[in-house]
Amino acid sequence: MENILNIITENQQMIYIVILMVFLGIEVIGRVPSVLHTPLMSGANAIHGVVIIGAIIVMGKASTDNYLALVLGFLAVVLGTLNVVGGFVVTDRMLEMFKKKK
């Protein structure tokens, strides 16, 4: 029990962020028209590509003789970039079509 309380106290900043972001995430897209559901899903998909930052940190910290970490980290960077770049480009392509006939 005390263990858990300690974890909460140690990470209180992070926990506050989590709670606020949950409400913000719900609030922000609450009024989206169904027309935009697919692009919104795609855009959100690109945003969680922020995980690539973790991949970069992992890669940059790995010691140069730890090949397992290097290979896995490299793979993570490639996949993360795919998620970010692909996600944003696909979303832009979808939205470009929306704009043309306005």
């Binding site: 974890i7 962020i17 989590v18 409400f23 913000l24 995430g25 922000v28 897209i29 028209p33 169904s34 935009l36 559901h37 697919t38 692009p39 919104l40 899903m41 795609s42 855009g43 959100a44 998909n45 690109a46 945003i47 969680h48 590509g49 922020v50 995980v51 930052i53 973790g54 970069i56 940190i57 992992v58 890669m59 940059g60 140069t64 970490a69 896995l72 980290g73 490299f74 793979l75 993570a76 960077v77 490639v78 996949l79 970039t81 795919l82 998620n83 970010v84 770049v85 692909g86 996600g87 944003f88 480009v89 696909v90 979303t91 832009d92 939205l95 470009e96 079509m97 043309k100 006939k101």
Partner: protein, 476 residues
């Protein structure tokens, strides 16, 4: 100084994500919102590469690896995103989502390896060396990321028809037990002797991958959009685990934001089908009771209509509604459809599109598709408005849509789609249904509409049928 700039970059990143999502939910600002989020992401990424410092104040190294990874990923990502056809968009989103999940899982794996190497010599039991909070985030990131990756790949396979539905009795109980098994293994990893901890961790990840497959496999293809949206929010949470791991606020903000927004989007989609999320996940579509309900009253007769008659009917109508569905997307008939629309308009026919929120394979799928063909915004009517107008409509032309116009959703309580709001096309004077054959649609449910007296069938591929229609109308 450098660290302060990094913090600033992360704050900018977080704000752009929130702004981006906000702007994405408004048609006028959506595109700018996407670009803003992309800009913020680039700032955060490059700031991390050049300014990040480990606890002992050292910068990152292995730049060659990092940059080649980013370049390879960017080239493949851009090419894939540019080449993909509009109809394959849902698969593409699922694929990219899977990549993000795999990335999160790999980060956890490397972090585990890092912790494991450092502490294996110091302690006998893994839990003595690593705090529970730290292990929990590693493990959660690995499990959620793996489930999201495997699940997204299955969803991808299902959408492009490579993987068929697979169900067996008691599957959900097996799945539930298997999920429990993962949690047990994850616990064993923590409290195991440090010499075999890595093996336990490997088993955890492998079982999470298998669980991801088993989780999506029984869910019917018609429900795939909901699943993709759900997996999307899973990946968000997995990314947030990475944020916890490195005390990185921008990963946390982005991850949780997507996790929460994705969950809401999932629920919104379920609501559009008038089902609960649990029902989507457990009540596998098209299972035994659906088949029973369908076969009972299949005896009806349907009538076919010739292209000439259909052309005649439409060009002398006052008001025509087009109901697009997945068949239109498969046939890539959106441009031909727009041509027909222009042609009829020249003849003085009032023509509109009735868009069901879950038509196609993704909410908004039809809007994206028709937008590609330059169909004007104000011609697209949402379900409620369209339903009000069907009464005064002469002809409804259904192009490859099925479940979204199935009256069973309104009047057959035994139907698996009972309760789902539908486009009430049977209120119109005439209904022309374009389908390739009489086979039931994606959800595997018979559709009474096809056997009604006012309905006539126009068989054939949407594009071919529309081209013939256009030729006939021009000839009139």
């Amino acid at each position: 100084m450098e660290l302060n700039i990094l913090t600033l970059a992360y704050i900018i990143g977080s704000v752009t994500f929130i702004l981006g999502l906000k702007m994405l939910s408004n048609p006028a600002t959506a595109r700018r919102g996407n670009l803003i989020a992309a800009g913020g992401m680039s700032i955060a990424i490059f700031a991390t590469i050049f300014l990040y410092q480990t606890e002992d104040g050292k910068g990152l190294h292995n730049y060659a690896w990092i940059f080649s990874g980013i370049i390879i990923g960017s080239i493949i990502g851009t090419l894939a995103a540019k080449k993909v056809k509009m109809t394959a968009m849902p698969e593409m989103v699922s694929m990219f989502n899977g990549m993000g999940g795999a990335c999160a899982a790999l980060i956890s794996a490397v972090e585990f390896d890092h912790v494991y190497r450092e502490f294996r010599l110091d302690a006998n039991i893994f839990s003595d060396a690593v705090s529970f909070g730290h292990y929990f985030t590693i493990s959660a990131g690995a499990i959620i990321g793996s489930v999201s990756f495997a699940g997204s790949m299955i969803a991808w396979g299902k959408l492009n028809g490579r993987i068929k539905d697979f169900t067996f009795k008691g599957q959900h109980i097996v799945n539930l037990l298997f999920f429990g098994f993962i949690l047990v293994v994850a616990g064993l990893t923590y409290w195991s002797n440090s010499s075999i901890t890595n093996i336990w961790f490997l088993i955890t990840m492998l079982s999470a991958l298998i669980y991801g497959i088993m989780f999506v496999l029984p869910i019917g293809g018609a429900d795939m959009p909901v699943v993709i949206s759900l997996l999307n929010s899973f990946t968000g949470v997995a990314a947030a685990c990475g944020g916890f791991l490195y005390n990185n606020k921008v990963m946390l903000t982005g991850g949780i934001l997507v996790g929460a927004a994705g969950t809401l989007l999932t629920i919104l989609m379920c609501k559009a089908m008038n089902r609960s999320l649990l029902n989507v996940l457990i009540g596998s579509f098209g299972a035994s009771n659906a088949a029973a309900a369908g076969t009972k009253k299949q005896a009806g007769n349907y009538k076919e209509i010739s292209v000439t008659d259909a052309a005649m009917l439409m060009s002398y109508a006052k008001k025509v509604f087009i109901v697009p569905g997945y068949g239109l997307a498969v046939a890539q008939a959106q441009h031909t459809c727009h041509e027909l629309e222009k042609l009829l308009e020249e003849k003085g026919v009032e023509i509109k599109y009735a868009i069901h929120p879950v038509a196609g394979r993704m909410p908004g799928h039809m809007n994206v598709l028709l937008a590609e063909a330059d169909v004007s915004y104000d011609k697209l009517m949402e379900m409620e408005n369209a339903n009000d107008e069907f009464k005064s409509t002469d002809v409804v032309l259904i192009l490859g849509a099925n479940d979204v116009v199935n009256p069973a959703a309104k009047n057959d309580p035994s139907s698996p789609i009972y309760g789902m709001p539908i486009l009430e096309v049977e209120q119109a004077k005439t209904v022309i249904v374009n389908k390739r054959s009489m086979k039931p649609g994606y959800a595997g449910i018979e559709n009474d509409l096809f056997y009604q007296p006012k309905t006539s069938m126009l068989f054939g591929d949407s594009k071919a049928a529309l081209q013939k229609l256009i030729a006939e109308i021009k000839a009139i």
